[in-house]
Every structure is written in structure tokens, then in C-alpha cells.
Amino acid sequence: MTTTSTTAATTTKVLDVTGVTMKFGGLTAVRDVNLTVNGGEIVGLIGPNGAGKTTFFNCLTGLYVPTSGTVRYKDTVLPPKPHLVTQAGIARTFQNIRLFANMTVLENVLVGRHTRTKEGLWSALLRLPGFKRAEQESREKAMELLEFVGLDHKADHLARNLPYGEQRKLEIARALASEPGLLLLDEPTAGMNPAETRATEELVFAIRDRGIAIVVIEHDIRFIMNLCDRVAVLVQGEKIVEGPAEVVQRDERVIAAYLGEPYEDTTAADSAAPAPAPEAPVADGADRGDAGDGKENDR
């Protein structure tokens, strides 16, 4: 397990979020969240259902305009426009898979390359000299990515006909096609069996080894433990803890958020009493409640 050893490979700040707040009318979905992600780092984002994790992602990627706060990517403030965010270098996947169902696998990845190619309508209509070259180059890059995630043999299939696990892989390949510096994964293992989850872990490490920083939302605690250098916990829109996975897992506020306060715990002095066995309770709570419910809250 090479998880934490390469943490300090690069210490440049890739993502710097300061004071992001998102209000929907009277409801505050995300409240004053700060988060930094360094180069070559894998950061986990966990929290109970409805904690605002996906909303936070949507704020980062410009799908939502945050009520306040700024998002910096490599020292430039990002405008809240999804296509500009992608152009700047942040790519994402969706919690409920959002592939272009009626396009082929290869075409899906080619769409992902949109920001990294420049050929406009005139170039396409007149077949200017650069057109063929750029198209060929895009195809090669796309095929290389498909090979990377292990889908190159299905390049001509329609995306809708792929099995579930492969659709997730294709979404990751499509996101990688935009040559991001930061990849946001929204529950990449939801609905997967343990073997597929393992394969996804390997894939995430391989992506990190390409020099891409990763933020991952996940409910599978074992997955988070294996992968992440740092974990941030979001509860009711607020970031309550951030730190290495082992520390976060033992934090009583986190346990309380997932499992609730102990019933007898009425006096403040008594608060340190229920020291639960490490690992087990949080993982159980997560698995029972949250695995794989595709909620549609990113529109």
C-alpha cells in the first residue's frame, strides 16, 4: 500500500477553497467551507447523506454559483461557469452516471477532449489542414485513455450498452480526456461489488501517479482508508474535521454524526466515555445507510 508515502511529492496548492457558502433560499447547504488540495494528493470527502458533499462539488465546478466564497485553482480564481472550470483544469464525474448514452464509447471520450482542441466550425467545414491532424491526435489520445481504464476493446459500443462498472470507468476516462490537474470523483464505487471497488482503487492510484490530484466523495470507509492522504468530514454543510484518515475515523464528532449521540451522554464530563472500537462502527453505518442511492441533486 503506497498510500501515504508519496504525500509530500509536490506541495504546490492545486485547489484552494476559502469560505464557500451555498444557500438555497433559507436552507444553507454548504456553510463556510475551506479546503486545500496539494499536488499529487488524494483527499477524501465524507459525510452522512444530505451533508452537502455533492453541492460542494457543484460549487467547485461552477454548476452552482456559491453564495459567497472563492475557489482558486493554481492561484487563479475560477469563474462560476462549468466550461471555464473544466478549461482551467478541473474535471469531474457524477454521482448518478451521466454519460452521453447514445454516443459510442470513443465519442464520449472525444467529447471530453473538447477544451483541449481548438478546431472550429470553419476548420471542420473546409477541412483545413490542421483538422485531420487534430482529429487524429484526439482519437489517439482517446484510445490511449480507453486503454488506460481498460475499455479500448469496446470503443465502438454505445455507452448505454456498457455494464454498470464499465460506465463508471468510461466516465473517469471522459473526465481524464480534458487533461485535468484535479479530478473530482463523486462516489466512484457506488453500487460496485468488492472486486470492482478494488479495481477502482487501483485506477485512482494510477491516475494519481499521472500527477493528477484527486478529491473523492465516498461512503465506503475502507475505500477511503486505503486511498486518501487526508479526509475532510462534512456534516450539515459544515466541515467539522479534517486530517489523516485514521484520526478522522476515531473522532467522536464524526462518530456522532454517523451514529448519533450516545443516549446516556448527558453530562459534559462524561463525553469521553464511549470510545468505540476503531474502524467498525463508522464503516457499518456508512454501508447500511448510503451505499449506492443515486440521488439527483446535481442539476
Binding site: 465546478t61 454548476l63 462549468p82 466550461h83 473544466t86 478549461q87 474535471a91 469531474r92 457524477f94 451521466r98 454519460l99 452521453f100 448514452a101 447514445n102 454516443m103 459510442t104 470513443l106 465519442e107 472525444l110 467529447v111 471530453g112 477532449r113 473538447h114 477544451t115 482542441t117 478546431e119 472550429g120 466550425l121 476548420s123 471542420a124 467545414l125 477541412r127 483538422f131 487534430a134 482529429e135 484526439s138 482519437r139 470503443a155 465502438d156 459500443h157 454505445l158 448505454r160 450498452n161 456498457l162 455494464p163 471522459r174 473526465a175 480534458s178 446535481d298 442539476r299
Partner: protein, 603 residues
């Protein structure tokens, strides 16, 4: 679950059934050489012995088709006929898919045409007594052929407990043909050329039908014949070939289209051809907007109108309020530019809406155009368009000394005014086809399809949704303006009433959208075919003008129920609407690099 039951609808031994079908088809064939009626009062003169005419020719063609399909299926492995020793050599290629369902469809086609002819004769001349022996023989033969064909075993097995309707439908279904052996390239190209030659001939015949009885018979036979050829698997084979030789196919299609005006002796029919091209070109432009980018535009005809008005105003017409006479190329550019500007102006505020809202807003803008043009008449507004009088007396085009209004002799054939415009319009259609194909198979086209599929995901992939939608909208508008600038000259005069949302004369928004959807969204040949049908049928059946919209509606409903992907389906749509439950295994996996975009642009 699937049993091997292929029992026919009418229980007869398979070999008997085939003999009955053959006998019926031969009888129908022979009947066409005998007189069907005693008087030449019925159009087409069906009184001559030994020389089929009018509707008889259609029966003849149908009977030959039935004969060929029946013989082709003789002794095929699926027909399970006892004592038949192998298939007849040289005919097996006719039925690579189904063998018996094409026979059934062709026989029904013959029966339909002959039955219609008998009905029409007795109705128009006042009773069955007007039928001569030939009519009885042909009719009886057709009936016999249908009975025999229905007694042939089904091509695909059905469950034992399938109900009657299910068995009836099953009788007309057929398996897909296996992959064809590779022929030498020249042979494949020859096949494509021949197919387009036949297509042109059928099309020209349909346009040149001189009376509505013949046209109805033509439509009946064409529909059944098309279905029979489809079930026989020939179309699948052909589309595999055309996908392989795309440039040859395009060339062949345009060569066939160029030949069309030379096959027409009647001005009126050549004019229909030119108008079909205008309609089809606009439909193809709409296909960029609807088929690729997925923007439902219900006011598209306004762009045609803007192009036409812009070109008319600068055409030098004495009634034009601007007294200028631009040369042709400048007039066309003016038309395109005006439509383009109009498209951007309408698109910029409306394209922020999605789906149904966009449809309503574009519908509104389409009507606003017509009403505005009506009002710019000098009394309710400044005099720009002459209001409801429109701009008449638009002079004919002249290009390099070639006057489009005068007949010209080309290689011994006379090319009349509609023929000239037809060829000009064909050039523009070719341009639009090229624009469609090239834009569809590029980064821009992929972005459009991505927006159609899932706009949120598309923007998250870095696509500037608004800009690309506006680009699609403007491009579509520009293409419509191109067609409009020619339309103004072809039709001599333009009035606001030509550019309605729905009306009985085809280029209107509803018919344009119908042509795209009926033909097949996102394909090139689909809107062309759809537009041809939608123009031709009303133009040929003017006696039922009152019923036209009703029939149109019914036909549209039936088509959407049974073939929602349109007449020409792109591979994607086919999979989308007819979920088979099994994962798709593309059969063109061996195609060379660069063929992956085929699905999008169609044939």
C-alpha cells in the same frame, strides 16, 4: 421459451403453398396483358391486349417481384419443404434475410394494387360489369398469390401460445441477413450505382404519374415493395455497402439526382422536383438544429422567409421597395446573411431556455415574423415588404449569361426553366449535405450531440453550451436562408402566407419538422426522403386536399407508433427505440479507421 414453431397462418404444406403462390403470381402477370375494362374512359387505357398500361404496369412489376422472391425462397433451408433439392442458383442473393415474409409483402402489394384498380374501375365506371376478363384473372391471381404466401412458413419461429395478432405480425418479420461476402470493389460500386439508378427510376416514375389513380397505386406498391425489400435483407446489405463506399454513394446519389430533370418532359413535374429540393434542403438545415443539437425549433420556416424576402428585395423586382438589382451570388449572400443575423437575434435570448420552453418561444417567433412582414405595408408600419401583397415579379436569375428562365439544350435534352432551377437547387443541396456531414463529424458536431444527450454533463466536459447552441441555430438559419434565396426566384413571387406554422403547402414549420422526424433525425438521407414524400403526396393527391391534414396526422401517428426512429434510422436511434435487452455488438467492427462517425451522419 422459444419453440421452433414456424407454422403459417393458413395451414397448407409448404411446397403446395409455394406452388399456389407461383401460380397466383403468374396469373396476375398474365392478366396484365389482357384488357381490364372495355372503355378508355378509365385513365391509362386498360383496354389493350398484349400491352399493359397504367395500373397494369404496377401489377406487372409487383407480380414479377413476387415471382422472384418466391423462386428465391424455393428450397431455402428455412422453408423446410420436402423433396426440394437446394435453392435455385442465381436467385438466392435476393433474400439474404427473410425468404417468405418478402413474398407475403410483395403478394399483398400486388393484391393491393390490383384490388385498388378493380375497385376504382367499378366505382368510376359504375359497377363490376365494366371489368373485362383480364381484370378478373389478375385479381384472382393476386388473391391466390396472397393465400399461397400466407400459407408459407414463417421466417422466425414464434411461441406455441402466441395469439392470432402476434402470429400475424410474426409472419411479416424476418431475421437480419448475415454479413455479406466481400465482393471486389468495382462490383460493390456497380451495385450501389445500380441501386441508385433503380431509386431514381422509381422516384421519377412517382413524380411523373399523370393521374391520381396511378399515384395511389404507385404508393401502395412502393410501400409494400419497400417493406418486402427491407424484410428480404437487401436494404441492410445495401446500407453496409454504402457505409463502406461513402464517397461513391454520395457521388452516385447526386449523379442520379442530376439525371432527374432530363427524364422529365413535363414542366410541372420538373417544378415539383425543384420544390422538393428546396423543401428537403430546408429540412436538412433544420436537422442540424433538431437532429444534432436537439433544439426543438417550431418556427424554422421564418428563416426560409427571411432568406427569401432578403433575396427578393435585392432581386430587382419592380415591386421591391429597394430599387437595387444584385447579381445572383450577392443576392444569395444577402439571403444567407439576413437569415444568419435573424437566427442570432432570435437565438441569443431564447437559447437560454431548454426543451419545451424553447419550442414555445420559437413557435412564437415564427408567427411574429409572418405578422411583422404582413404589417410592414406602409399603413400599419413602414413600407418594406408590401404587406400581404408580397413581392411579385421577381426576375429570373442570370449566371454567366445563362438565363434560368429560358429553355436550354444540353446534350440533345431540353432543359426548361424548372429544370434549370432544379439543377441550381441541387448544387445548393449538395453544399448543405456537405456542411451537415462535415460539421456532424467534427468536434463541433460531437459537442452538439453531447448537448442533446445531457447538457449538464456536456458543460461539465468543457463545452460552452450556449455558444454551441447558438452556433447550431445560426448555421441552421443560414442554410434555410440559402434555400430561401433560390425559392424566391423559383416561385416568381413571395407572400407572407407562404411562411406559416402549419398549412397545406409543404414548406411550413410543422411539415419541416415532420419531414425530419419522419425521415430520421440526425441522418442525411432521412430528411431528404421525408421531405420528398411530404411534398409529393399532397401535390399528387390534390383531389383530397380537404382531408390532407387529417391523413397527414394519421400517417404521422402510425409511423411514430411503429417506427419511431423514422424511415432512415441511424444506428443509435435504432438501439434507443427498440431495446433488445442484449448488449450491442457492432457489426462494423472491422471497418477502417474513421468509420465510427457513420452512425451519426447516416447513409
Amino acid at each position: 421459451m422459444t419453440s421452433n414453431n414456424t407454422s403459417p397462418l393458413i395451414p397448407l404444406p409448404a411446397s403446395t403453398a409455394r406452388v399456389v403462390t407461383l401460380t397466383g403470381a403468374v396469373l396476375a402477370l398474365a392478366g396484365t396483358f389482357l384488357p381490364w375494362t372495355w372503355t378508355s374512359a378509365f385513365p391509362g387505357d386498360l383496354t389493350v391486349t398484349g400491352y399493359p398500361g397504367g395500373l397494369q404496369v404496377l401489377t406487372l412489376v409487383g407480380a414479377v417481384l413476387t415471382l422472384l422472391f418466391t423462386l428465391s425462397g424455393w428450397g431455402s433451408p428455412r422453408s423446410s419443404e420436402a423433396g426440394s433439392g437446394g435453392r435455385i442458383r442465381g436467385l438466392a442473393w435476393l433474400t439474404p434475410g427473410g425468404t417468405n415474409s418478402p413474398v407475403r409483402l410483395a403478394a399483398l402489394g400486388v393484391f393491393g394494387v390490383t384490388g385498388y384498380a378493380i375497385g376504382a374501375i367499378s366505382y368510376e365506371l359504375g359497377g363490376l360489369v365494366n371489368l373485362e376478363l383480364g381484370g378478373w384473372i389478375a385479381g384472382g391471381g393476386a388473391l391466390l398469390a396472397v393465400i399461397g404466401a400466407l400459407a408459407l412458413p414463417a421466417d422466425q419461429p414464434h411461441d406455441d401460445d402466441t395469439d392470432a395478432w402476434g402470429r400475424f405480425r410474426n409472419a411479416f418479420s424476418a431475421p437480419d441477413p448475415a454479413r455479406a461476402k466481400d465482393l471486389p470493389a468495382w462490383a460493390e460500386i456497380l451495385i450501389i450505382t445500380a441501386a441508385f439508378g433503380i431509386g431514381l427510376w422509381i422516384f421519377a416514375y412517382g413524380i411523373a404519374t399523370e393521374y391520381s389513380e396511378l399515384f395511389i397505386g404507385f404508393v401502395v406498391l412502393a410501400a409494400f415493395g419497400f417493406a418486402a425489400v427491407l424484410r428480404a435483407g437487401l436494404l441492410k446489405r445495401l446500407s453496409a455497402l454504402t457505409a463502406k463506399h461513402r464517397n461513391v454513394t454520395l457521388t452516385a446519389a447526386f449523379a442520379a439526382a442530376i439525371c432527374f430533370p432530363f427524364t422529365q418532359t413535363n414542366d410541372q413535374f420538373a417544378l415539383i422536383g425543384a420544390n422538393i429540393l428546396i423543401f428537403a434542403t430546408v429540412a436538412l438545415g433544420l436537422n442540424v438544429v433538431v437532429g444534432l443539437a436537439g433544439l426543438l425549433d417550431l418556427g424554422y420556416v421564418a428563416f426560409l422567409g427571411v432568406g427569401a424576402y432578403a433575396a427578393a428585395l435585392v432581386s430587382g423586382s419592380p415591386q421591391s421597395t429597394i430599387g437595387v438589382h444584385f447579381p445572383f451570388w450577392a443576392a444569395v449572400l444577402t439571403g444567407v446573411a439576413a437569415s444568419l443575423v435573424f437566427g442570432v437575434l432570435i437565438g441569443a435570448p431564447t437559447l437560454r431556455l431548454r426543451g419545451d420552453y424553447l419550442a414555445i418561444v420559437t413557435l412564437g417567433f415564427g408567427e411574429i415574423f409572418r405578422i411583422t412582414v404582413n404589417s410592414l405595408n406602409g399603413t400599419s408600419g413602414p413600407d418594406v415588404t408590401n404587406g400581404s401583397n408580397g413581392i411579385p415579379n421577381i426576375p429570373d436569375l442570370e449566371l454567366f449569361g445563362f438565363n434560368f428562365g429560358l429553355p436550354h439544350d444540353v446534350l440533345g435534352f431540353q432543359l426548361t426553366r424548372p429544370g434549370n432551377y432544379y439543377l441550381l437547387m441541387l448544387l445548393f443541396t449538395a453544399v448543405v449535405v456537405m456542411v451537415f456531414r462535415r460539421s456532424a463529424e467534427s468536434r463541433i458536431g460531437r459537442a452538439w450531440v453531447a448537448i442533446r444527450e445531457d447538457e449538464t454533463a456536456a458543460t461539465a466536459m468543457g463545452i460552452n453550451g450556449f455558444r454551441l447552441k447558438l452556433l447550431a441555430f445560426a448555421l441552421g438559419a443560414g442554410l434555410a436562408g440559402l434555400a430561401g434565396s433560390v425559392q424566391a426566384h423559383v416561385s416568381y413571387s413571395i407572400t407572407p402566407e407562404q411562411y406559416q406554422f402549419a398549412g397545406s403547402v409543404p414548406p411550413n414549420s410543422a411539415f419541416l419538422l415532420a419531414a425530419v422526424i419522419l425521415g430520421g433525425m440526425g441522418t442525411i438521407s432521412g430528411p431528404l426522403i421525408g421531405a420528398a414524400l411530404l411534398y409529393l403526396i399532397p401535390a399528387k393527391l390534390q383531389f383530397m386536399a380537404e382531408w390532407q391534414l387529417l391523413l397527414f396526422g394519421i400517417a404521422l401517428m402510425l409511423l411514430m407508433r411503429f417506427r419511431p426512429e423514422g424511415l432512415v434510422a441511424d444506428r443509435r436511434k435504432q438501439l434507443e427505440f427498440h431495446e433488445t435487452g442484449q448488449t450491442d455488438v457492432p457489426d462494423d467492427a472491422t471497418l477502417p479507421e474513421g468509420a465510427t462517425g457513420v452512425a451519426k451522419a447516416g447513409a
